[in-house]
């Protein structure tokens, strides 16, 4: 006899666990309408409060993955490597990691999302490039991956429909906050995207979904277990997101920063994280330790091979590859610029990632709501990071805005957000590593 949904919800409510088949019935029933929205929401809330077991997280991931198409990357030469970040501020790592891995012979098929709230999205950044398309058909995606080695496109509707349905419900029912639900959602998308090696960047801190290293490590650990359980080489880095990772926050500005970084040998925190993620991926694919592939990656970066792959990818996706020669000339920039001088000298103690991200959303760079349009040309270029010694009057950053009033308001907010004071020991950006060799 098919079990009654209410009886299964009651078991979860009372602290019990559900089997693979039972979870499959509930999720499948939610999609076909035999399990109501209320029943699914009650189950999700019971799971958020009582927790899901590791076995339930694995089962949920399988169910979500199997709800739609799974990309077949077997026609690519390989290794196929995917990379995912849980989202942060000034986090343009995909724009660095994908072409860098392509430059080392891998194929990166990256299906990305859009930004929401203070956290940016790779698709929005790429769409700042004139002409570039992210809505690609499957065949086109595979062709570009084969030709260029990397492609970044929007997830198609045929992948993980159950994940989209569940996420839409979680979003309005305050049931997002569950490590198991987050991990199964992230990993179902990665499994459906088909790569053999998966690298995760789980952000921890004020500007991240996970507030601290412990929570981020828990999520990373579960994601790695799910990936390994599904037969994919999976590793994860936990990286700090208390301050923005890059200097540019805003869609065009983040492309500018990526191009400028790839035009010279790697330097700074954003490059450090990108290099570490690429090393995880390449090492994982080759069965090596990350240290064993680092020199190859640095060499490819240093000689401009990654930048060349980025330009090829942009061209293949219809964008203007001249962006890689003259990013500030090609990319749109808002008309009003305001430099923000430091009111006092000292050491930069804090550049709060979330608040800086929200500031750029207020300028138009991001979305408060899912259907908002984004303005590629606005944002903030930070002049400082935590630990910098500065003098009064030094630029804390520059604001790009549509109007003088917006620029003025953003500049005042930024001035108030950057904390300057006595000495500080900045925390390392790389916090932990899970999985891998």
């Amino acid at each position: 006899m098919r079990p009654r949904p209410a009886a299964l919800i009651a078991r979860k409510r009372d602290g019990g666990a559900l089997t693979d088949d039972e979870l499959g019935l509930l999720v499948g029933g939610y999609l076909d309408g035999s399990v109501s929205e209320g029943q699914m929401a009650a189950l999700l809330m019971a799971g958020v409060l009582n927790g899901f077991t590791r076995a339930e997280a694995l089962a949920l991931t399988r169910i979500l993955t199997a709800s739609g198409q799974v990309l077949d990357l077997s026609g690519l030469a390989g290794p196929t490597i995917d990379k995912h970040s849980t989202g942060g501020v000034g986090d343009g790592t995909t724009l660095l990691v994908a072409p860098l891995l392509a430059a080392c012979g891998a194929q990166v098929v990256k299906l990305s999302g859009r930004g929401l709230g203070h956290s940016g999205g790779t698709l929005d950044k790429l769409e700042a490039i004139p002409g570039l398309r992210v809505g690609l058909a499957e065949e086109e995606i595979l062709d570009i991956a084969a030709d260029v080695g990397c492609v970044v496109a929007a997830q198609t509707d045929r992948l993980v429909p159950a994940d989209r349905a569940l996420y839409a419900l979680r979003d309005v029912t305050a049931t997002v906050e569950s490590v198991a639900l987050i991990a199964s959602s992230v990993m179902s998308k990665k499994l459906a995207a088909g790569a053999s090696t998966i690298v995760l960047d789980v952000k921890a801190g004020d500007g991240a979904f996970m507030p601290d290293d412990a929570a981020a490590t828990e999520l990373a650990e579960l994601c790695v277990a799910i990936g390994e359980g599904a037969g994919r080489r999976t590793s994860a880095l936990v990286t700090g997101m208390d301050e923005p990772l890059g200097r540019g926050i805003g869609n065009a500005l983040e492309v500018v920063e990526a191009v400028e970084l790839l035009s010279a040998p790697p330097r700074g925190r954003l490059a450090e994280v990108a290099l570490a993620l690429a090393a995880e991926g390449l090492a994982g694919a080759r069965g090596l330790a990350p240290a064993e592939v680092e020199a190859e990656l640095r060499e490819a970066w240093g000689r401009g091979a990654a930048l060349e792959r980025l330009a090829a990818m942009i061209a293949a996706q219809g964008g203007d590859p001249a962006v890689c020669d003259d990013p500030r000339g090609v990319l749109p920039a808002a008309p009003v610029r305001a430099t923000v001088p430091a009111a006092e000298g000292g050491v930069v103690r804090r550049v709060p990632a979330r608040a800086v991200g929200e500031l750029t959303v207020a300028l138009g760079a991001g979305r408060a709501r899912k259907d908002d349009a984004v303005d590629p040309a606005v944002g903030v270029w930070l002049g400082v990071e935590v630990g910098d010694e500065i003098a009064a009057g030094d630029p804390l950053g520059e604001v790009l805005a549509r109007t003088g009033a917006q620029a003025e308001e953003a500049a005042a907010r930024l001035a108030a957000l950057v904390e300057v004071g006595g000495p500080v020991s900045p925390a390392p950006t790389l916090r932990a590593r899970l999985g891998g060799a």
Copy 2:
């Protein structure tokens, strides 16, 4: 700004409390469609797991009550007294309490429900009487209350629509089990029914919704607080429901038992509970202690005044009042009778209420699902109760069934259910009293 439902749900999820206005927005929004079924279900599950505060229970009751019509009993001479049982097996107290209070000058307007699962419903019992109608218009209800002193009718759709909507959702989302939600549901119906004095019979035990005295007492205490907070004189008894309260279990059989009990001075556990509930109500209405009205109630019962009021009520509701002279002659009885003899002698140690109730549901006396039809003519008449000394071959009870096979199966089940063994000290039926003078 109107708060986002998800933010309110998140607060409940995180252990916080909601204000009256916030609960009003959520419940009102659920009724008008601006709060989705999923959001309401998530809120309910968060409340079931984290608990609702007393203030939230009071607010919810007010919101549910105010969602529909409130009966105006001010045209009745008074005192107006209502009585509610949380439901059990062989619990025909309403058929005794309502006419008994009417015989003592009160008006009882009782809006009842139907049985579900092992637990019987007063409307089903009354409908066993040929011709009797429970679907009465408001004017008719008030007229019968004024003329007869008591009336038992189905709750109209105009009362507590929000309670019906929430209950339907709770039923399928495993969110029934919350003392605050149960209390606010029960009390909203009582407040909407308009009586000045409310008496509650909260059942505890195997055959009750509340499994033990502690849980039943918690529910009773909260219901009394809600009633008193709404300005009604409210008291509650916690009574045992480990074994059926009466001898008859089945719709016609319970009417038979009520008539036979009212035809003689009160005796036995069912009469004891009915008398105690009537005393609570009458004493509450007069500002006295129950002991001060007990003699009057016993006298009215003993001289047949309560039976006479029951006959008048049955006649006023279109039923055949001859049922009060010859219940076994007038009421339907299923064609097959099977007596169940005791296999061994000893002391009756256990007559499990829930299992006996389920046995009669299997015969057709109750509903497994809400839309099932009930058969008034089937059931069980118990020959023993806990503590009785019996000899092998003594009748444990009699089964009334539609077919020989059904009778045989029910008889075998009953024989297996009644435990006979060494001496036992039966627990008292009256367990606790809350509220009142």
